[in-house]
Amino acid sequence: MTPGAGATPLLDLWSGFRGAVDCASSGRTWPADDLRGAADIVGRRFARAGVRPGDPVLLMVANTAAFPVALAALLSLGANPFLTFAGAAEATVRRLVGEFGIRHVVHDFAAGVSRLPASTFAVAAETPVGALRLALLATGATETALRPEGRGVILHPTSGTYGAAKYCIRDQAVAIAEARNYVGAIGVYDRCRVTVTTPLTHAFAYGFGLVSTLLTDGTLALDAAFNPKRVLREDALRSTILALVPPMVRRLADLSRGSGQPPMSPHVFYAGAPVDAGVAAAFETVFGRDLHAILGTTETGAIATSYDPAGRLAGVGRPLPDVAVTIAERAATSGLGPGLGELCVRSPSLMQGYLGAPALARDEAFSTGDIARVDDEGCLHLVGRVRDVINLGGMKVDPAEVEAALLAYPGITDAAVYPGLRVEGEFVQAAVVGDDVDVTDLRRHCLAELDAHKVPAIVHVLSALPRTPSGKCLKVQCPGYPEVLLRPGA
């Protein structure tokens, strides 16, 4: 897959940016000129340490000013940043390094977030960004055939709608197209201060928060990790836009229950997964604010929003101005109900393709894997997913990866991983077969092998997994499989 080379619209935006970044963890506000100055210094040091145009570089930095600084530095060198969760497990990082031949990792060792031991890789360069330490780590990896071509392209992680973990190639123009769509549809970005509570490596936070703020000269408010008390004390008073994912919606409502009507940003959005209707109602009662949905995927960028100046729209709202949706009939959705089918999207913010896979045609419709319908008002309603990828508030989990980690534990002979469901959304649970399984130790083992959010929250120990005569595991018959997720073809 060969993305377009040469165009650097995101860097052009960065060069003209007049806004700022607020860092809650340090209490410092970074005006645009300071950010650019830091990026220049970081870029020069990275270049001296061997970062070259076209290099794949893992960008593992928490939500501080160091993230946009490091991103701009890498793009200015023509490197291709792989956006990667700053708290990724060492095993995850090593796997990515090997799979993509990544020679450098940019990491900040953020306190309370980083899980990468300092001794994992050699430090090739180190530079302070304010009080932060930004390190360029040399992995010693050799190049692989599986690497992005082109320069200054951004790779977003996703488990993909259909299974194995993938990176989406989304060039700089795609990011700008998505931000323009947000700004055009939502229209509340003027002199905005956007509080982003999810990692900037997540496509929603990246597009809705970072790039849209760059586009509108706004202020981006960041915290290295979600701290609901800080959001309630500070950001709710100062910000104009608050970006959440469903688990945070519930925690903010729970924390504020019974405390009168605390202040809240005028415009509150969530994305990543549906919010339970009861949780949404509780949030809106506690804070007196409408909660607006954003529908999008890493592959397509933003698709729709329920925001409307005249009031909240039904479902996940209408498609954004430059997005065209169709509902395609599929075998898995037939018989579910009238008008139901798989949501397919055409958009200028569509990725160029998955790394290592054929490029998508620009006018190609992307099949999202979501089952949806469109009502008489043109609003989209999601009713489920075609396949069983586990969705944790927007963070997708490939069951096969978790099953492999479980099977690596001594004594485990069989394993199945599938979603559970609680009021704020899905979670990971597992059924395993083995003798005298110590679940606590098993979860500790998983934590060493997997990112923390992929570790099963509940583990059922069975004498055998339910299977078809042909040997296919019937996850729907495993303990705790949510009935609401059962669907034809699952």
């Binding site: 963890s25 306190a111 309370g112 977030v113 290295a224 990790a225 979600f226 701290n227 609901p228 008390k229 800080r230 004390r233 688990p247 925690r251 729970d254 924390l255 229950r257 019974g258 649970q429 679940v439 606590t440 979860r443 500790r444 934590l447 923390a452 959010h453 570790v455 929250a457 509940i458 583990v459 059922h460």
Partner: protein
């Protein structure tokens, strides 16, 4: 600022331990709750959201406030420390 009286530390620790046991049970975790092990996956088994649920439940059920700085990740080592840093509700 006037603050409500904080329960004695041993009483608060007993309440906090009971809440942690309840949350662990909801997660399918077994075993005794120790007050001197880390809150996270390597100790009590609470992930980042589970830790927030613990703090919220402690505030709402025990009538105390956990200062903002402790709500960040890995700022509190264990339940004993949680009981110590909690202050009477303002």
């Amino acid at each position: 600022m006037l603050r409500a009286r904080k329960p004695p530390n041993d009483e608060l620790l007993r309440q906090v331990t009971a809440i942690a046991a309840r949350l662990r049970e909801q997660l399918g975790l077994t075993g005794a709750v120790r007050t001197d092990v880390p809150l996270d996956e390597e100790g009590l088994g609470l992930d980042s959201m589970g830790r927030l649920d613990l703090f919220t439940a402690v505030e709402q059920e025990c009538g105390v406030t956990i200062p903002e700085k402790y709500w960040g990740p890995r700022r509190l080592r264990n339940l004993g420390e949680l009981a110590r840093v909690a202050v009477g509700r303002a």
